[in-house]
Subunit: 201 residues, 4 copies
DNA sequence: TCGTAATCGAGACGGTACGTCGTGTCTTTCT
DNA sequence: AGAAAGACACGACGTACCGTCTCGATTACGA
C-alpha cells in the first residue's frame, strides 16, 4: 500500500516500478478479466520480479484496486458534479457519462474485475469504499444538498438513501447485464427516482 | 447442464450423484467462497471422480449456479409475493426476508460467489437471468401489476424500471457492504421509491 | 522408487515417462553438475510435468541416484571381475577401467554429482550403498575370496578391509583431484596394498 | 578471498566483521549442511549486510572453506605428528583422533559440506588442497620419512602413495558412512597398510 | 580539519527455482 | 456406458535466495 512510510535506511522504493506494475495490471485485467489475471503475467509484462509485487500488494484484489484508482483518479483533483440548476438533467448527464465509460471494453472489464474481487473480500471492500466509492459519493451528496437548498429535493430525506435510489438501478443493470442502459432508460430512472425524493414545494 | 437427453443404451446418469455434487458444491462455496472453490475439492468431498463433474458442468460458475438453484428453489413451485393490499408493507416484507437470508453466512457467501462468477462471465450471466432472476422478477412484476390495477402505481411506468428502482438499492448495499440494511432502512427505500412511482390519483 | 506396487485401480505409471526423466537427469547432471541441476530443467527438457517427477522421487538426490543406476547397470546382469589367476593384474585392470570411466566428462560429472548428494544426505547414502556400492563390493569380495582359496591372500584378513585398502586410494585421488591416476600409479597402489594383504605362503 | 590487498586510502576492512561472518558460516553449515546454507542466512545471523559477504568471498564454497580453515587451524601453528618410535601406534593415534572429530556432529556436517563443495568445484578443490590438505599431508610425509630413515618403511616407496594407502580407507568409510570406524577397525587398516609398505629389513 | 574513498548495514530489485495445488484430459478397472 | 481412481502436461501459486544495485552513515587516511 502506498502509505507505508519509508524506513530510515536502505534503498528506496522505485516509483517508476510502481507505476509500471499498476499500468500493466490495468491492461491485463482489461484484456483477460480478473479470473485470468495472474501475478506472474503482470510481473512478466511489466518486466518486474514477482517479489516486487508481493512486497507491496498483499492480494490480487489490492493490486487491481490500486490499478483502477491510478487510472481513474489520475493526477488531478476530483471535480464537482455539474450544476446547471436542472437537477434531472445534471444527474442524467453524469449517469450517461458513466454508462459511456462502461461501453469501453477495457474499462468495463477492469471494473468488473474489481467488483468481482470486492464482493468476496470484505477487507478489499472497505478499501474500495474509503478510497473510491466514498469520494465519489461525497460529490453526489454535495450536488443533492444544493438541490435541497433550492427546494428541489425533500430536506428530510437521507442523502445516502437518495444517492442509492438514483444510482443503484444503473449499477445493477450494468453488473447483471440486463435492462435498459440507453440515455432514455437512464433518464427514466432518474426521473422516477427524483419524483420520489422531490421537495414538497 | 442437466438437460442433456439420455442416450438409449448404457448406464443412465445417477441422480443421487448429481445431488451429492451440488450439495457439496454449495457447502464448499459457503465455506471457502468462490475463489477458493475447487473442482478437486468438490470431487473429493463428494466422493466422486473429477471426470463426473467435468462431464456434466462446463465451468465452476455453472456448477455454482446449479448448486444455488438447487438450494434456493428446492422441490416446490415458486409462490407468489404477499398481497395484503398494502403495497409498501408487502414489498418491505419481501426485502426484509431477503436481507435475513443474507444474514446467514453460508447463504451470503454462496450468493456472493455466484455473483462474482456472473459479473465476469456473460454466458453464465445469461443462464442466471433466465433461470433465477427472471422467474423472481416475474413474481415482482405480477405484484406491481396488481398495484397498477388498484391505482397504487402509475400505469404508465415500465414494470422493470419499477422493480429496479425498488430492489436495486438493497442489492447494492449488500454487494458493497455499505449502507443501512435494517428493516427501517429497507422500508425507507421502499417508501421513497414507491413515492416516485405512485399513481396520479 | 521403482518398488512401489501398483494400486488396483486408476491409470498406471508410464514407463516411457520414467525412462525419459532418468535419461534427461543424467544428461543434465553430466552437463551442469549437481548444484545447477534443477527439477524444473529436467521436467522441461524431458517434456514432463514437474509434478510427475515429485510424485516418484522425493529429492534431487534420489533422482540422480536412479539416473546413474539406470545408466550404469543397464539392462544386463552384473558380470564377475576378471580372474586370470594373476590377482595384481586383474585388480589393476579393474581400476584402470574405472579411471577410464572417470575420464569421460559426462560420467565424471554425473558421479561427482551423486557423490556430493550422498555426502550430505544419510538416507540417500544408504540407498546408494544398498543399490550400487554393495553389489559392486560383493563382486570384489568374491574375487578376493578366490584369491584366498589359492593362497594369494591372507585367509585371516577381513574382505571388506581388503576392498577398502585396494580401492579407496584411487577413489580419494579422484574425488580430491590429486595424485597419480595413470595406469602405473594405479598399479603401484594395487601392488603395495596386496603386499600388505598377502598370504603367508 | 582475503588476500585482496588494501588500496591506499579509505576505510579498512573490519577484522571483527570477517571473524563474525566465518564463525556464523561454520555454525550454519554445522546446523543445516552445505545445501541449505544460504548467504542471506549467514548475513542475517551475523548481523551483516549481504554485500559485505559478496565483497570478500566469490562463492558459498570459498566462504565455507575459509570458515573451516579458521576453525581448524585456529591461531596456533601446526604441530608435528607424534613420534614415539612405534609407527603403527602413532598413525593409529592420529586416525583415531580424526575419527573422534568426525563424531562431533557440528564438525562432521561442516566437513561434509566442505567436501561436497569441493567435489563439484575444481577451483575450490585446488584452494582446499593448497591451504588445508597439503599442509596436513606434509606433516604425514614427514613422519613417514622418519620411519624410512629408521628402516620401518621401504625407502623406495613414494610417500604420497604411502599416505593415500594409510589414510584414504578411513576417509572413504567416513564419506560413505560404511565400514568399521572403531579404534580397532582403524588399527587394522593401519597394520595391513604398513605391512604393504614395510622396509625389507 | 577537511575532503575523498572505501567499508558497512539495510533493503529494493530482476530473476530463477522451489515444492504444492489445481486444471482439464486421459487411461484403467470395476460395475 | 457410467463412474471412481489416479497419472499426466501444464500453469500458477507464494516463498526463498541469488547477485546487483542504491542509500545513508561511518571510519580512516592524505593534503
Amino acid at each position: 500500500m502506498p502509505t507505508a512510510q519509508q524506513a530510515s535506511t536502505g534503498r528506496r522504493r522505485n516509483p517508476a516500478t510502481r507505476a509500471a506494475i499498476l499500468a500493466t495490471t490495468f491492461d491485463v485485467v482489461a484484456e483477460l478479466g480478473y479470473a485470468r489475471l495472474t501475478i506472474e503475467k503482470v510481473a512478466a509484462r511489466a518486466g518486474v520480479g514477482k517479489q516486487t509485487i508481493y512486497r507491496w500488494w498483499p492480494t490480487k484484489g489490492a493490486l487491481v484496486l490500486d490499478a483502477v484508482l491510478e487510472r481513474s483518479l489520475g493526477p488531478g483533483e476530483p471535480v464537482d458534479l455539474p450544476d446547471t440548476g436542472d437537477l434531472e438533467e445534471d444527474l442524467t448527464a453524469v449517469l450517461v457519462a458513466t454508462v459511456e465509460e462502461f461501453a469501453d471494453p477495457a474499462f468495463d472489464r477492469a471494473l468488473r474485475g474489481l467488483t468481482a474481487a470486492i464482493i468476496e473480500d470484505p477487507e478489499l471492500g472497505q478499501a474500495y469504499r474509503e478510497r473510491l466509492d466514498e469520494p465519489m459519493r461525497e460529490l453526489k451528496r454535495r450536488r443533492l444538498r444544493r438541490a435541497q437548498e433550492v427546494g428541489q429535493l425533500d430536506v428530510d430525506v437521507d442523502l445516502d438513501l437518495a444517492v442509492d435510489l438514483i444510482f443503484a438501478p444503473v449499477t445493477r443493470r450494468w453488473t447483471e447485464r440486463s435492462g435498459d442502459l440507453t440515455p432514455e432508460g437512464v433518464r427514466a430512472i432518474v426521473r422516477h427516482a427524483l419524483r420520489g425524493l422531490a421537495g414538497s414545494a
